[in-house]
Symmetry: C2
Subunit: 307 residues, 2 copies
C-alpha cells in the first residue's frame, strides 16, 4: 500500500504544485490503484509515475470544486485510449454524474469500458472481502466528503514449523487447518486448526479528507488511522482566512490528527501563496502539535507496509 | 502578431506534446491574446509562457473532442482567480455552451467577469475595425471548424518629408490630410491629402484549422494566407489511417498549403506514435511538396511581423 501525491496545491495549478489528486496504490493487495480527486492534468502527472490508468479501479471524489474534478473527463478518455477495459467506479457528491455525462457526451467520448457513477450519501459506500470505505460530510460550504478506508484484518498465517514438530506433511490438510477446522489424521490424531494459526494481521486504516474547516467528523473519520491526509491550505496564524474560506490551517490539521490519535499525518492542498521556502515553517507548525507530520509535495510517495 | 503553440499532440497528452491549444498573441495590435482550442492543461502550459490569462480576450474552439476542450473550465476559473475582469468571448460548435455551463455550475465556479458563448455557424463570426474572423466546416466526423483571421489593411502613413518640402508645419492639418481630405492652407494653396499618404499596409491573414481530412474548405479558408496551421496527425504514407480517423497526413497538409498558395505552413496535432526522432522525416515529407513548412513543437513561437 503506497500513497502517491499527484497534486498538492489549492485552487489553481502552479509550477510547483498541481491541483489535487492522490493515488492509493494497492498493487500487492489487489493489483489496482484508487484515486482520490482528479484535478486538471492529473493524467499528465500520472505520465511521470508508474501508475497505469488501465489499473485505476475506483475514483473517489471528495467535492465538486474544479480543482478536484476537472481532470476527470480527460483521464476517463485516456484510460480508454490506453486499452482499459475493466469496470471503473466513481464515487462522489451529487452532481458528479451530470458533469461526467455531459463532458463525455458533448465531446463524443466513447469509453471502451463500463463506468459506474455512484452519487454517495454518508455511511458505508463500498465493502468487499478486503476493504471497506466509509464517507462522512465535512465543512466546506459545498458538500465535501472525507473517506475512511479500512483494510480488513488478514487471517493469521499457518504455523508450519509447529506442524512439522507434529509430523504433519504439507497437503490439502494445511488448507483445512488454516481455515480453523479440526482435522483427523490417518493415525487417528485430531488437530484443532485454531492451535496452528498465528494471530490475525491487523488491517491498515487510511483517512483522506476533502477540503474542510476543522470539524468533528474529521476526528471521527480519522480515529486510530495509520495515516491521515488532511488539507492545510493556510499557515497556522491564518485562522480567520481559513474559517472564511472553509479551509484549515496547519495547526488545525495537526490538532485533528492528535485528537484522533492517528499514527501519521500528511498535510496537503497547500495554497500557492506559500513558496518552497515556507515549507519548513508550515511543517514545524504542525509538528509542534503532532510530531509525526509530513508536508506533501507533488510526486511524494508514502509507503504503508503491513506491520 | 505572434503564434505560440501550447499543445501540439493528438488525442491524449504525452510527455513531449500536450493536447491542442494555440495562442495568437495580438499584444501590439490590441493588447490581447486569442486562443484556438483549449485542451486539458492548457493553463498549465501557459504558466511557462508570458501569456496572461487575464489578457485572453477570445477563445475559438474548432471542435468538441476532449483533447480540444477539456482545459476550458479550469482556464476560465483561473482567469477569474487571477483578477481577470474583462469580457471573454468563446466561439465554438453547438454543444460548447452546455459543456461550459454544466462544468461551471456543477463545480460552483463563479466567474468575476462576463463571458459570452457563441455557438457558431459557417460564415463571418467576428468583425471589428481591426480584424475579421470567418469559419467554415471541415471533415472530421463531428462538426469541426477552420478559422480564417484577416487583419484589415492599415491606412498608409503620412508622408511627412513631402509635407516639409511644401513647407507645411505639423498641426491639426496633418490629421485631415491623413484622412484624405483636401485642405486649404492660410496662404491659399490647396493640398490633396491623397497625395501625401503612402500606400496602405496590407493586413495579415492566418488560417487555423481544426482536425480534418483533406478537404476543399481547407483550401478556401487558407487562400493566400500568410500562415496556415494545419493538422498532420499521420505521416505521409498513412493515407488510409488518416482517412478512417478523419485526419490528415503531412503530405495532405502540404498539398493544401500549396494549392492555397499560402506563405508558410505549420504542421501540428502530431500523433504520439511519432517520437522526437521522427520529426525530421515528417517535416521533409511536407517540404517535398511545400517548401516553407515547419513542424510545431510545444512552446514554439512563430512571429508574423507586419511587412
Ligand atoms: Zn480544493
Ligand atoms: Zn484532436
Amino acid at each position: 500500500m503506497e500513497i502517491v501525491f499527484l497534486g498538492t496545491g489549492a485552487g489553481v495549478p502552479a509550477k510547483e504544485r498541481n491541483v489535487t489528486s492522490i493515488a492509493v496504490q494497492l498493487v500487492e493487495e489487489r493489483g489496482a490503484t484508487w484515486l482520490f480527486d482528479c484535478g486538471e492534468a492529473t493524467q499528465h502527472q500520472i505520465l511521470h509515475t508508474s501508475i497505469r490508468p488501465r489499473r485505476i479501479e475506483k475514483i473517489f471524489i471528495t467535492h465538486l470544486h474544479g480543482d478536484h474534478i476537472f481532470g476527470l473527463p480527460g483521464l476517463l478518455g485516456s484510460r480508454s485510449f490506453q486499452g482499459g477495459d475493466s469496470l471503473l467506479t466513481i464515487y462522489g457528491p451529487k452532481g458528479i454524474k451530470e458533469f461526467i455525462d455531459v463532458s463525455l457526451r458533448v465531446s463524443s467520448t466513447h469509453l471502451r469500458y463500463p463506468i459506474e457513477v455512484v452519487e454517495i450519501e454518508e455511511g458505508l459506500i463500498f465493502e468487499d472481502e478486503q476493504f471497506s470505505v466509509r464517507a462522512a460530510k465535512l465543512e466546506h460550504g459545498i458538500t465535501s466528503y472525507g473517506y475512511r478506508i479500512v483494510e480488513k484484518d488478514l487471517p493469521g498465517t499457518l504455523l508450519v514449523d509447529k506442524l512439522k514438530v507434529e509430523n504433519v506433511s504439507p497437503g490439502p490438510i494445511f488448507q483445512r487447518l488454516k481455515a480453523g477446522e479440526t482435522v483427523e489424521l490417518e493415525d487417528g490424531r485430531k488437530l484443532d486448526g485454531k492451535e496452528f494459526v498465528g494471530p490475525p494481521q491487523k488491517g491498515r486504516i487510511i483517512t483522506i479528507l476533502g477540503d474542510t474547516r476543522e470539524c468533528q467528523n474529521s476526528i471521527t473519520l480519522s480515529e486510530d488511522a495509520d495515516l491521515l491526509v488532511h488539507e492545510a491550505t493556510f499557515s497556522g496564524e491564518e485562522i480567520e482566512l481559513a474559517h472564511d474560506y472553509f479551509h484549515s490551517t496547519t495547526k488545525q490539521a495537526a490538532t485533528i490528527a492528535s485528537k484522533a490519535r492517528v499514527k501519521s499525518l500528511i498535510l496537503t492542498h497547500i495554497s500557492s501563496r506559500y513558496q518552497r521556502e515556507s515549507s519548513s515553517q508550515l511543517l514545524s507548525e504542525a509538528k509542534a502539535i503532532f510530531e509525526n507530520s509530513y508536508l506533501a509535495q507533488d510526486f511524494m510517495r508514502y509507503s504503508l507496509p503491513r506491520v
